[in-house]
Symmetry: C2
Subunit: 327 residues, 2 copies
């Protein structure tokens, strides 16, 4: 009888693994180092050995495992093909087939942010919903789209790459993708600090998000930056205390995220939005600023999707990967 499934979340420095019951109970989780040398050629072997050792430790027969799922930090086609995964050094690879051949049970693969969305929809903030969009605001901005309970990869594996949505046509600085004005430039942890520093450097009054001009006092933020280096958390902490410059930065982020939520609603109209990643630790303060602009940009409808915080934190990836095998 098949009672277990395994979730694997491959990151650039560590691989997270989880052993689950098919009902979604997390029985054990552990990590191994991601060996990226030689174009990441040892990664699949390492994962296979680690899984087989864990099954032996738990005295679980391979026949009792329905399968494993893997989240990969790059675009993955519907058929499981990874065309290009810079962080791991993988090009035109089918990691799922490779792992399946080693462990003896089926393996499915998805983009890590898509897979995390599936995790939140299975056991996290979007539990019970079948049309879910998640935005992960971390060092970068990732996303995932689930429609009718199914993770959408898209024709070129680009579905859910929400960090590179153009939100500001007037931006002069380039995103690392080459475009100017990507969501990631404002809504990632790095982006929040970038926007804050830009305002800190401003000479005189700047045009605020709400449309009026204002000269901000940057003294507090400059002091923090000189003492220990400014972080995204500092900006949100100061904004919550009412510092006008920090508040403007969080308002800029809220506006662009509200814009993106309105766009997703007019495109696929999901049941619920989930906000995760490090920046989401700002909590309800963040959600409120997003909600304000989401409402504003969606004046066509009085009804709109709920916006909730993610609940599974760093475990979303292993949950979602495990769920991949059950679909």
């Amino acid at each position: 009888m098949s009672n277990y499934c395994i979730g694997v979340d491959i990151g650039g420095t560590t691989v997270k693994l989880g052993l689950f019951t098919v009902e979604g109970e997390l029985l054990d989780k552990w990590e191994i180092v991601t060996r990226t040398e030689n174009n990441g050629e040892f990664i699949i072997d390492d994962i296979s050995s680690s899984i087989l050792a864990k099954l032996e430790e738990k005295q679980i027969d391979v026949k009792e495992v329905v399968g494993a799922g893997m989240g990969v930090p790059g675009p993955v086609l519907e058929n499981g093909q990874v065309t290009r995964c810079v962080n791991l050094g993988w090009y035109d690879k089918r990691p799922g087939d490779e792992l399946a051949a080693l462990v003896g049970f089926p393996v499915k693969v998805g983009n890590d942010a898509n897979v995390a969305t599936l995790g939140e929809a299975w056991k996290g903030g979007a539990k019970g919903f079948s049309n879910v969009v998640m935005l992960t605001l971390g060092t970068g901005v990732g996303g995932g789209v689930i429609i009718d309970g199914k993770m959408i990869a898209g024709n070129r594996g680009l579905a859910g790459e929400l960090g590179h949505l153009t939100v500001n046509l007037d931006e002069t600085e380039s995103c690392k993708c080459g475009n100017k004005g990507c969501l990631e430039q404002y809504a990632s942890a790095t982006g929040v600090v970038r926007v804050a520093k830009k305002l800190m450097r401003a000479n005189g009054a700047v045009k605020t998000v709400r449309g009026y001009w204002k000269e901000f006092d940057a003294a507090k933020l400059i002091k923090i930056n000189e003492t220990k280096g400014l972080t995204c958390k500092d900006v949100y902490d100061l904004a919550k205390e009412g510092d006008p410059l920090a508040k403007e930065v969080t308002e800029i982020l809220g506006r662009y995220l509200g814009l993106v939520l309105s766009e997703m609603t007019l495109m696929t109209d999901p049941d619920i939005f989930i906000i995760g990643g490090g920046v989401s630790r700002a909590g309800e303060f963040l959600i409120n600023s997003i909600q304000y602009y989401y409402d504003k940009f969606l004046s066509i409808s009085k009804k709109r999707a709920e916006v909730r915080l993610a609940e599974l934190g760093n475990d979303a990836g292993i949950y979602g990967a495990a769920k991949l095998t059950l679909n």
Copy 2:
């Protein structure tokens, strides 16, 4: 044996009807007047009588009909409920169930723009593709989203309402939805004329889409406008002849549509985009301007979806409605 299906496309002034084989051959098409009086209470009766008369004329037994589909000009929930259709006077109605009770075969209902997309995917410009986004640039801007061959209605029936995507955060004029900067304000036939007239009124140099400042000579357009009233077709005809002001208007449209295509690609990554509606008569000239900006905003990927013109014209709605019954 069930060999036939019927497509119904309800507009504010006429109802278009089509009799099809289940393979998608259009055997006959006709129109009746849309009687919107008394909150549109006669519309379903009229459609039923018209269908039954046509079947009798063609000597087709009701048992030979798989079903009928209806496209409705407003949001339609997945279960076929129309919450609010201003043009027909319908509120909280289940027109599909009502028609089915009268004709004796199943009836499915969808939003008209979504249904037209299904038509183009079945027998038009997107034939053979299962992930399709269509933009209809008419008096307003409508859209439809098909994923895995299925029309997406969304939680509140808002999926595909692409005309109300916010594309310009700096717009000062309001869209009829109450928001400012909706796609419809630039990419509808009305929007093209609006933007042209705004440029015609400009005093001195204006900032162009490409970023430089330019003073446009509005003489040609002003003359046309004073003689017979400026139309969208005039603007495109002049742009094709090289008139700088008219070209700038079409460039603004191309930029915002390119932006929306890049957004859809990063959200659901469709196989193909279809551009229809009256404005699309501008042909390849229009497609080229969209393509330029689509490429620009999608620098994250070298591969992108093809952008094609719609092929079924005003028949897309009846084709798609007929296809609804076969899904």
